[in-house]
Amino acid sequence: MKRAASPLFPLLLLGTAGVFSTLLYWIFLVVPPAQEAAGGLAQKIFYFHVPSAYAMYLSGVACFLGSAAYLASPREKWNALARAGAECACVFGLLMLTSGPLWAKKAWGVYWVWDPRLTTTLLSVMVYVAVVVMRAFTGDGEAERKFAAALGVLGTVNLPIIHYSVNKWGGNHPTVIGKGGGGLSHPDMKTTLAMGFLAMTLLALLLVWMRARLALLASRTAQAQEELWALSPDQDPT
């Protein structure tokens, strides 16, 4: 029995596709490249890299809210949100950790340095990977769910540390936006970055929604399977 999808979902899907198409047009055809020391043409990775980091924060917050709510009041919907948030944080973290080094190769001459922001980001992504791997391989019992939720809460505690690490401990990572940063000199750069943030916000919402729906569906399937076994124990468990 299929549950009717929310009418908001196709709207969100269309909106995300539209904003992403416009963003790609602006990145490749409108916005000028930055100075050579910032990577020249490779600096255009910035318009996807920074919003990916922001989307990881958003997914991390979703994981935190779902996890904390599940620990306080264990319900399927909170577990689904915690699970979806951790999975999406991994994906956005992966996007950030692949795009950043490619840009760094041009701007710094190396793919990776053990800079405070890079190191704390890697640690945070590894915590979310640990949550996802744990949920995938240790079953879906109450104890496993609570342990994953606790890890999800702890993983999100690291996010503010990443954000403020550049200001606190220095390092190679640029501080263009925010406190102490010189900002973006060209108006098109500001527009493109704003569009990047909007696109990634929509994408994060869409993916968290999709994965949460999937987690709820998996849970409903497992419950139905148990009902079937109770009625007919000789049923094939696959």
Partner: protein
């Protein structure tokens, strides 16, 4: 031919040897590199275009892969759930 005597635009010695039908002269052991030393402070030569395209390709491939895996798992689960509901309805009729 002494390489230092070459004028800009003149062909390299190996090309001249091939034109004359003679085998290209191998460099003497003294002329070959015996060690590679890292250049300090050298400029970055990786193509920015290649890095940009690689970054966007990897990011889109990862995103589309994730969406595809989600869609495939959802389809499988929906089919499985429908099968279970059908089976439950059949058992309910029997009982």
């Amino acid at each position: 031919m002494n390489p230092s005597s070459l004028q800009p635009g003149s062909p390299p010695p190996a090309a001249l040897a091939l034109v004359a039908g003679a085998p290209p002269a191998a460099g003497t052991p003294e002329e070959r590199s015996t060690e590679f030393v890292a250049v300090q402070g050298g400029t970055e030569t990786t193509s920015a275009e290649a890095l940009l395209v690689t970054a966007y390709f990897v990011m889109w491939a990862a995103l589309l892969g994730f969406v595809f895996l989600t869609w495939r798992r959802q389809s499988k689960l929906e089919a499985r759930l429908e099968g279970i509901h059908t089976e439950l309805a059949r058992l309910g009729r029997k009982g």
